[in-house]
Subunit: 389 residues, 2 copies
């Protein structure tokens, strides 16, 4: 099992800090945004005498309330269509274990969220990557590329929308394209939409659940981690209208007894988060994205698309090897005693050799710190020994 691209450099970051350097962490998806008060208060007011197991599919009142959240996003489901998991992580494991057998194949446009690899290994399934190009901003690869990748072992396509690591937001036309492929080959479409709330430039988020005629094929993966900046609650879910899929998934859910009780309590309360919270958060993320995209595109030899979702960008840098570069940033570089920690993009590709000149940047710091981090990056590129152009 490969090491996580966002974690493997942690020892070098620790060493950098021991040397007295300030390290700007743009490597992780841990937002600095405050969790809504309504969620924190629900925890502080916990008044049960026993911390009991919940229902294996999740607390019923929470699942019922979730249906209203989804209604607001034009997703019409009932509580029975939802299984709560310990984060989207567990929900994806349930989905893979339910929909695919050992040795089956799942197509994922790359670069993709690196932990999908771990989940696939866990479930004994093969990831078949198809290439999405930084030049097109990481848009959905052409349908011909899907057709070429499909074999008799292909059981599913997995997308992340808005995308981690690229920030790309799929258009309605791209989702329709996926619908055609899925319908033609009777595949599952597993759609990870944990960044649904984070769309910019007036763009609307379309869910795989909006697609008509493939209701039994679609599995929605979701999480409250990013939505409410509550990564530690470990609450996500798997949603499908396919009864057979949900019945099987429930058996996996029953085997691990129940999702975390406290996290569910916080997540249920968080549904009442006022719209003003999201307006503020979105404004903040938009400002950050603009800083990162502008700064990078001003660096000679660097290029960054301007993605409309999530809080990541994948940028191309004039470097020989992003693993070496990111390690060098921590070990051998500082600008006025400061440096920056990035995620080498190689870890987001499953095709060897790809992403060597790309890094993922999470814009999870405030605008001031982001600017300082971008200055570090710019200065670093001027002196990096492995600079290519």
């Amino acid at each position: 099992m490969p090491a996580s691209p966002i974690r493997k450099l942690v020892p070098y970051a620790d060493k950098a800090k021991q040397q007295g350097k300030k390290v700007y962490h743009l490597n992780i998806g841990q937002p600095d945004i405050q969790t809504p008060e309504v969620a924190l208060n629900a925890i502080r007011n916990f008044d049960h005498k026993v911390i009991e197991y919940s229902h294996s599919a999740g607390i019923l009142s929470y699942r019922k309330k979730l249906t209203k959240y989804y209604q607001k996003h034009d997703i019409d489901i009932s509580a029975e269509d939802i299984i709560i998991g310990a984060g989207a992580s567990e929900a994806i494991l349930f989905a893979l274990n339910t929909c695919l057998d050992t040795g089956d194949e799942i197509i994922i446009p790359e670069p993709f969220y690196a932990n999908y690899n771990g989940f696939a290994i866990n479930a004994g399934v093969e990831v078949v990557p198809i290439f999405s190009d930084i030049q097109s901003g990481f848009a959905l690869p052409p349908i011909a590329d899907f057709e070429k990748a499909i074999t008799d072992r292909t059981k599913a396509i997995l997308i992340c929308n808005p995308n981690n690591p690229t920030g790309y937001l799929y258009s309605w036309e791209e989702l329709e394209t996926l619908r055609e492929i899925v319908k033609k080959h009777d595949l599952y479409l597993i759609s990870d939409e944990v960044y649904r709330e984070f769309c910019y430039d007036g763009r609307k988020h379309y869910s795989a659940m909006h697609l008509k005629g493939i209701e039994d094929n679609v599995i929605l993966i979701d999480s409250v981690s990013k939505r409410y900046s509550a990564c530690g609650v470990r609450i996500g879910c798997m949603i499908s209208k396919n009864r057979e899929v949900m019945n099987t998934a429930l058996k996996f859910a029953q085997a691990r007894l129940s999702p975390p009780t406290f996290g569910q309590i916080a997540a249920e309360a968080a549904i009442d988060t006022p719209d003003s919270y999201f307006e503020e958060v979105l404004g903040e993320y938009l400002a950050r994205r603009n800083v990162v995209v502008e700064c990078i595109n001003n660096m000679p030899g660097a290029y960054c698309p301007n993605p409309s979702g999530a809080f990541y960008v994948v940028a191309r840098l004039p470097i020989d090897d992003s693993d070496k570069f990111c390690q060098w940033l921590l070990e051998d570089f500082d600008f006025q005693q400061e440096t920056v920690m990035l995620a080498p993009a190689s870890g987001f590709y499953s095709t060897p050799g790809r992403g060597l000149d790309e890094v993922r940047i999470s814009y999870v710091l405030n605008v001031n710190d982001l600017r300082k981090a971008m200055t570090c990056l710019e200065e670093a590129l001027k002196v990096y020994p492995g600079r290519t152009v």
Copy 2:
């Protein structure tokens, strides 16, 4: 994937309640004991602004404090030997995925905790059961039975001590026997010890971690669910001195990012639970066990060993089929408008046909309710159409 033996009758229990029957739930491992105040208070006093991911292996201060808990049980480990999981459930998954490859075999004395089946399916490994006998109180099967079961695909032995579902507490001699087998064939010994605190009759709990000379073979599985009656926190752990095993397990842990933050906060605080709490709880469970064992052995044709651990017994009843019987108890029987829900023991055996005349009883109700439940069972056995003797 088979349905959980403790869950598959839930719809019948719901129907019974709709019919106005009072149902005594002796089917589940959800204790009615109060969670220690110190754990609940830690949650109520949560004062962070952001609910963040924790370290993938668990909050460091928690792991450090856990080493002191284990020291009290003569288990000498460091924080690096611990990975916190979402319950023992996730910890077992980590252990199986780490120690066994797809198609490898794991030997488990049966009857065994039914969810081991689900975890084995999840990890793609084969469970090889060896028979432990109610006549011997479910003692460790003879060494010859292990030898017969070992093939070149055998990678591990899994025990649960004290045992769920049988309540059996392994002696030091039995653990030494396991040590010999494990050493001879270089197997992993995965030891699920989540009921460590619940030992009766002055018996001492011995851990697999106490065994000398197989330090690199032993994986300890633990959980705070039963210890502090805090099943909903979903906090367990995997412990091993084997560095290679822990490094691999950490990659699985990293793929799912982190264990639940709130649960860890409650569990860390719970380590300060005063001894008086356990004295009281143990007294309560002992009284309950005595009621159950005495009542069952007074029922004509029934037999129940007197186990020294956990809060379960497996009893033999004069019935044709425990699945039918347990369903009949809910659907077709009542005594003064009351009935009892039990777990058919067939689900705890992986050998087909075994456990048909056995049920698991969890003594998770107070002594008064337990007596009433036992009266129901006694009356039911008098009129059950499938009675055998």
